[in-house]
């Protein structure tokens, strides 16, 4: 496997900079840059809506030695905008020949406590990688993504120490042109807090947020009946 010096991080959350995906991406970028790599970042939802943005996306992908896609799980798979980006890349690559094999890795997070919800999305990305002729560099899969939010991992502190360790190992491996190591995958999948505590806090959190909008008593409404 060749070392890839020019890396492109694609953030696939429609929430852009205010997302868990962006927090994970930013931490990884800082570590890759410390290894002397050039890393660029783009927000997919800013690019896929219009033709000009789509062209920019394809140019950026063409120029990159490695693409790292960071995104949230939406309804058991990739968000629509991310699928659109993959469709565009696949169509574009049918028309071009590519001498150097580009690397492709993903980091996915979901709001469910169990990372296993992400498995189907990972399988889809792996097939995409095969289909467009990228070199698959692996996947990091995170549950309890809602506990990170848009805060930086450093601000989140000890609770996310395994996530940080996993990203450190990943950055080191990718910088050396290697596959994401198993140890990083295992650290990422470790739960920050017990599932029962996460779901209890989550349920209280939904009530609190609905109250903010004056919708606490309507939270179980059935508007289309």
């Amino acid at each position: 496997m060749n070392k890839k010096e020019n890396i492109l991080v694609l953030v696939g959350s429609p929430k852009g900079a205010s997302s868990t995906s962006n927090s994970l991406g930013d931490y990884l970028i800082s570590r890759l840059e410390q290894s002397g790599l050039t890393v660029g970042k783009e927000y997919i939802y800013k690019l896929v809506r219009k033709e000009e943005g789509q062209k920019k996306l394809l140019t950026k992908v063409d120029e990159a030695g490695m693409i790292i896609l960071v995104f949230p799980l939406y309804v058991d798979c990739l968000p629509a905008g991310v699928i659109k980006a993959l469709e565009l890349i696949a169509d574009h690559r049918k028309l071009k020949s590519h001498r150097e094999k580009q690397g492709f890795a993903i980091i996915i997070n979901c709001g469910f406590p169990e990372a296993q919800h992400n498995n189907t999305a990972i399988a889809i990305c792996k097939i995409f990688s095969r289909e467009v002729g990228f070199e698959w560099n692996g996947a990091l899969s995170l549950g309890m993504g809602g506990a990170i939010g848009s805060q930086s991992l450093e601000e989140r502190g000890g609770m996310v120490r395994n996530v940080i360790k996993g990203l450190d190992l990943t950055a080191q491996a990718l910088a050396e042109g290697k596959h994401i190591p198993d140890e990083a995958v295992e650290l990422f999948e470790k739960k920050f807090i017990p599932i029962s505590l996460y779901t209890k806090m989550g349920n209280l959190g939904w009530n609190r947020q609905a109250k903010k909008y004056g919708a606490r008593k309507k939270i179980k409404d059935r508007p289309y009946l």
């Binding site: 959350s13 429609p14 929430k15 997302s19 939802y45 809506r49 949230p72 939406y74 309804v75 058991d76 798979c77 990739l78 968000p79 629509a80 905008g81 699928i83 659109k84 993959l86 469709e87 696949a90 469910f112 406590p113 169990e114 296993q116 919800h117 189907t120 999305a121 399988a123 889809i124 990305c125 097939i127 995409f128 289909e131 599932i195 996460y198 779901t199 989550g202 349920n203 939904w206 947020q209 609905a210 903010k212 909008y213 919708a215 309507k218 939270i219 179980k220 409404d221 059935r222 508007p223 289309y224 009946l225």
Partner: protein, 191 residues
């Protein structure tokens, strides 16, 4: 018996038009009342991930476009049918745009189902799910992932019955029609 077809294919595709016609024929034979939404023709924005459909206007997306009609029709159906080209084992972005915006059909809370955390249903009645995936040629990886995705969607959206059918380009039409008809009969059996 009401069925809603969410057509997530691109226009001017002979294969998807043929499959859609075959589906409509079988549904008509079994006296289903059918509504078809050609998603590519509708103004449906991307989900912004704001969770407004859970905490701001519960059950309704805060973006007002054709998705509102789509979700209303979903809620009033007995069966939802996805029609999509299989993209890397998953759905097309056209179909997924509509699916990302329908999470108001479940509640935000967490609950365990068979040892795994999911969301409780919002409506008492839930819809069975048939998903028709179009493929140019046999690809067992894509087919397996597609079937898994449909099964996972069925768990999360509380579908009482689910089936994923794969249609290969140029495949015998009667084979598809038979499989589709059998799936419809299985849906009917639990209504």
């Amino acid at each position: 018996m009401k069925a809603l077809i969410l057509d997530g294919t691109k226009s001017n595709n002979d294969e998807s038009t043929k499959i859609l016609d075959l589906m409509l024929e079988e549904l008509k034979k079994l006296k289903w009342e059918v509504s078809t939404i050609v998603l590519e023709e509708k103004n449906i924005a991307y989900c912004t991930g704001c969770f407004g459909c859970w905490i701001q206007t519960p059950g309704e997306c805060v973006i007002k476009d054709y998705e509102e009609d789509t979700v209303r029709k979903m809620v009033h159906s007995d069966l939802i049918i996805y029609l999509t080209p299989i993209m890397f084992g998953g759905y097309s972005s056209i179909l997924k745009k509509a699916l990302d915006r329908q999470i108001g059909r479940v509640l935000p809370y967490f609950m365990k189902i068979d040892g795994e955390v999911h969301h409780p249903k919002r409506y008492e009645k839930q819809q069975s799910l048939l998903s028709i995936g179009l493929l140019d040629k046999r690809d067992t990886d894509k087919e397996e992932v597609f079937k898994t995705l449909v099964a996972r969607n069925a768990i999360n959206m509380w579908a009482p019955f689910q089936r994923a059918l794969i249609s290969l380009n140029g495949e015998d039409e009667s084979k598809f029609s038979n499989n589709f008809n059998n799936a419809l009969l299985e849906v009917e059996a639990i209504l």
